[in-house]
C-alpha cells in the first residue's frame, strides 16, 4: 500500500502583491517503507506540500491520502498516524526536553506512565538523557533538532514528515541527525523528507522528486537523477581571462552544448563524462596549449546543476532572484 498519495494538489495564496500559486497540480506517491526526498529551492512548494499532507493546510484543489485517510475529510485519523518535524524546531523552549516529550506523548493519547517511559526511551536513543532535565532554551541547535524529531516520534507514527531537518545545522550536527534518521529508516519508517540539498536527499532518500514552481519536474533514484544531469562535473579556473575562449574550446570538445562559462570567475564547467580519465586528458590538453590554471577539480552535481539541466534556469533563492552567481555565463 502507498503511505502517501497526492493527486493534482493546488494551493494559492493571496498576498498584497497578488496571487501566488504555491502548488500547481503536484502529484506524489510514497510507498510504504520508502524514503522520498522532496528536493527543491526555497519557495518551490516543498513546505506547502508537507503542511497539506500533515493536515495543517487545506488544499485549494486536488486530493491527498495519508496512511489511507483523506487529509481533509479524515484529518484526525491522518494526525494519529503521522509525526511532523518542522523546519523551525517546534518544541517549547521554556520546558525541559523531558517535559516536551511527555506533553506530546500524552497528546498522542499515551497514558501518563507510558508517556514517561516513551520519553526516557527517546531521550536515550537521541543521546539527550544528560540534558533531559534542562530547559530547551539552553540546548544547541543540533540538540533542539534531535529533540524536535524525538517529539515527532512519541506517538510511534507509521509515517514521518521531515521538513528541512538539517537546514542551518553545522556539518557535525547534521551528520548526527542523518544517523538518527537512517536508524529510523532501518527500523522500517516511511519518511517524506524535504531538502534544498541534493547531498542530503542522496544520503537519506531511496527516491527523489524534484519540485519547482509547485510541480514535480523529475523523479527517480539519486543515481538516476545524477545520470540525468550528467553526473560529476569538471571545473576549471584559468589564470588569464584572455585564455578563456581557448580553454573553453578544449573543454567543450566532448561536452557539446553543456559547457558553462563564468567570465567573472574565469571558470568553466563541463560534465565529466569519463571521470578522472577525462580530467587528465583535459589537463594534458590545457598544458599543451600553455594555459595556466588557478584551480581545477572534479565535483559532484549541486542543486544548481539539477535545476539548470531540468529547467534551464538556476535555482533561485526564495524569489529574490539572486542565484549563487556561479552558473550564469554559458547557460541558455
Amino acid at each position: 500500500m502507498d503511505a502517501v498519495v497526492a493527486e493534482g494538489l493546488v494551493k494559492t495564496y493571496t498576498t498584497r502583491a497578488g496571487t501566488v500559486r504555491a502548488l500547481d497540480g503536484l502529484d506524489l506517491v510514497v510507498p510504504e517503507g520508502a524514503v522520498l526526498g522532496l528536493l527543491g529551492p526555497n519557495g518551490a512548494g516543498k513546505t506547502t506540500t508537507v503542511r497539506i499532507l500533515a493536515t495543517l493546510l487545506r488544499p485549494d484543489g486536488g486530493r491527498a491520502t495519508v496512511a489511507g485517510h483523506d487529509v481533509v475529510a479524515e484529518a484526525q485519523a491522518v494526525r494519529a498516524s503521522i509525526g511532523l518535524s518542522g523546519q523551525y524546531a517546534a518544541v517549547d523552549e521554556n520546558l525541559t526536553g523531558e517535559e516536551n516529550l511527555v506533553l506530546f506523548g500524552r497528546l498522542y493519547r499515551l497514558s501518563k506512565a507510558d508517556a514517561h517511559a516513551r520519553a526516557r526511551e527517546l531521550l536515550e536513543q537521541f543521546a539527550l538523557t544528560a540534558a533531559a532535565r534542562r530547559v530547551v532554551k539552553t540546548y544547541s541547535g543540533g540538540m533542539r533538532r534531535r529533540l524536535d524529531l524525538a517529539c515527532a516520534l512519541t506517538g510511534r507514527p507509521r509515517l514521518l514528515f521531515l521538513d528541512e531537518p538539517t537546514t542551518g545545522l553545522d556539518p557535525r550536527s547534521r551528520n548526527a541527525l542523518w544517523d538518527v534518521i537512517r536508524d529510523r529508516v532501518r527500523q522500517g519508517a516511511t519518511v517524506l523528507l524535504t531538502t534544498q540539498y541534493l547531498e542530503e536527499a542522496d544520503a537519506l532518500a531511496t527516491s527523489i522528486a524534484v519540485v519547482d514552481h509547485g510541480t514535480i519536474i523529475a523523479r527517480g533514484t539519486a543515481d538516476e537523477l545524477k545520470a540525468q544531469i550528467g553526473g560529476e562535473r569538471i571545473e576549471v579556473v584559468v589564470h588569464d581571462p584572455a585564455a578563456l575562449p581557448r580553454a573553453r574550446e578544449i573543454l567543450a570538445r566532448d561536452a557539446g552544448d553543456d559547457c558553462r562559462v563564468d567570465d567573472r570567475a574565469r571558470r568553466i564547467v563541463v560534465p565529466a563524462h569519463g571521470g578522472v580519465l577525462r580530467l587528465m586528458q583535459i589537463l594534458r590538453d590545457l598544458e599543451a596549449a600553455a594555459i595556466a590554471l588557478d584551480d581545477v577539480g572534479l565535483r559532484r552535481p549541486t542543486l544548481d546543476d539539477v535545476f539548470l539541466t531540468l529547467t534551464g534556469h538556476a535555482a533561485e533563492d526564495g524569489g529574490n532572484g539572486a542565484g549563487a552567481g556561479n552558473a550564469d555565463g554559458g547557460a541558455p
Binding site: 495543517l56 494526525r79 494519529a80 503521522i82 511532523l84 517546534a90 506533553l103 497528546l107 530547559v135 506517538g155
Partner: protein, 265 residues
C-alpha cells in the same frame, strides 16, 4: 474516550504546559505584580490626596477594587502575548499536527491564564490589605466578588486569544492589548469618581465594563462607591457585569475560533 472528555483532558494538558512556563519566565509575573503595586502607590500616595470622594470615605479603599479590575483587564494582554508567541514559534503547528482536540489550544490558554491571573490577584489583595483596603461585608460577598473577577478574566482571555491570532509579533500583541485596555480603565470609575469627568464622558464611564465590575466589587465589599446618577449600572452593577461577560464571550470566542480555523487556509 468521548469527544468532550478528550477536549477536557487535552485542555488541561495544554493549560498545565502553559502554567509550567510561568516559573521559567518569572519576570513576567513579577513585573505584572510590580506594575499593579506601582499603580496602587502612585494613586494612593501621589494623586489620592487631590481626589476627594463625594460622600467621603478612604481613597485607598475606593482605589483598590479598581486596581484589581485593571489587573483583570490585563489578562487579555497576557493571553494575546502567549498566543502570538505560540503561533510564531511553530508550537501551534506542532499541536495542530497531533491527534488532539483542537479546542484544547484555546480553552487551555484561557484556563491557564485564569489560574495565572487569579494568582496575581491574590498577591495584589494581600498588598491591598497592607495599605488599608478591607472587605467590610462577609465571606460570601467576598467570594461573590472574586468569582465575578474570574468570570471577567475569562472573557478578557478570549479577547486576548482573538488579538493574539491577529497580530504578527509579541511586541504588537503587547501594544494592541494596552491600546485596548488603557481607555477602558481610565475612562472609568477606577481612579476618579465619575462625576469629575466631562458630562459627555460620564455615560461611557458608567456603562464601561471596567466601571461596572469595579462598582460591583465596591458594592459587594462595602468599599466607597460614588455614582453620578441613578440608573441601571448604579443599581445593578453585578447584573450588568454578568451581562457584559456574556456579550464579550459571545462576540470574541467565535471570532477567536474563526481566526484559529483560518490557520489552515
Amino acid at each position: 474516550m468521548s469527544g468532550l472528555r478528550r477536549a477536557l483532558s487535552d485542555g488541561l494538558l495544554v493549560a498545565g504546559r502553559n502554567l509550567r512556563r510561568v516559573p521559567r519566565i518569572p519576570e513576567l509575573a513579577i513585573f505584572a505584580i510590580i506594575q499593579s503595586v506601582i499603580f496602587v502607590l502612585l494613586f494612593a500616595f501621589v494623586f489620592g490626596g487631590a481626589i476627594p470622594l463625594p460622600g467621603g470615605g478612604s481613597y485607598r479603599e475606593f482605589l483598590l477594587p479598581g486596581i484589581f479590575v485593571q489587573t483583570v483587564f490585563f489578562a487579555c494582554v497576557t493571553t494575546a502575548i502567549g498566543m502570538t508567541d505560540d503561533v510564531n514559534k511553530g508550537l501551534i503547528d506542532r499541536f495542530r499536527s497531533l491527534p488532539m482536540a483542537r479546542s484544547a489550544l484555546l480553552s487551555g490558554r484561557a484556563l491557564s491564564d485564569l489560574v495565572y491571573n487569579a494568582g496575581i490577584l491574590i498577591v495584589l489583595m494581600v498588598s491591598g490589605l497592607a495599605v488599608g483596603w478591607r472587605v467590610h461585608t462577609g465571606v460570601l460577598e467576598f467570594l461573590a466578588g472574586a468569582g465575578l473577577m474570574l468570570l471577567v478574566t475569562f472573557a478578557m482571555s478570549w479577547i486576548g486569544v482573538w488579538i493574539g491570532m491577529n497580530v504578527p509579533t509579541v511586541e504588537v500583541a503587547n501594544q494592541v492589548g494596552f491600546m485596548f485596555i488603557f481607555p477602558l480603565t481610565f475612562v472609568s470609575n477606577i481612579f476618579v469618581p465619575p462625576e469629575t469627568l466631562p458630562s459627555w464622558l460620564q455615560p461611557v464611564a458608567e456603562w464601561n465594563p471596567a466601571s461596572v465590575l469595579t462598582a460591583a466589587l465596591r458594592q459587594l465589599w462595602g468599599n466607597p462607591n460614588p455614582y453620578v446618577a441613578d440608573g441601571l449600572p448604579a443599581e445593578h452593577p453585578v447584573l450588568i457585569t454578568v451581562a457584559w461577560t456574556v456579550v464579550l464571550l459571545a462576540v470574541f470566542a467565535p471570532l477567536g475560533v474563526r481566526r484559529f480555523r483560518a490557520l489552515s487556509r
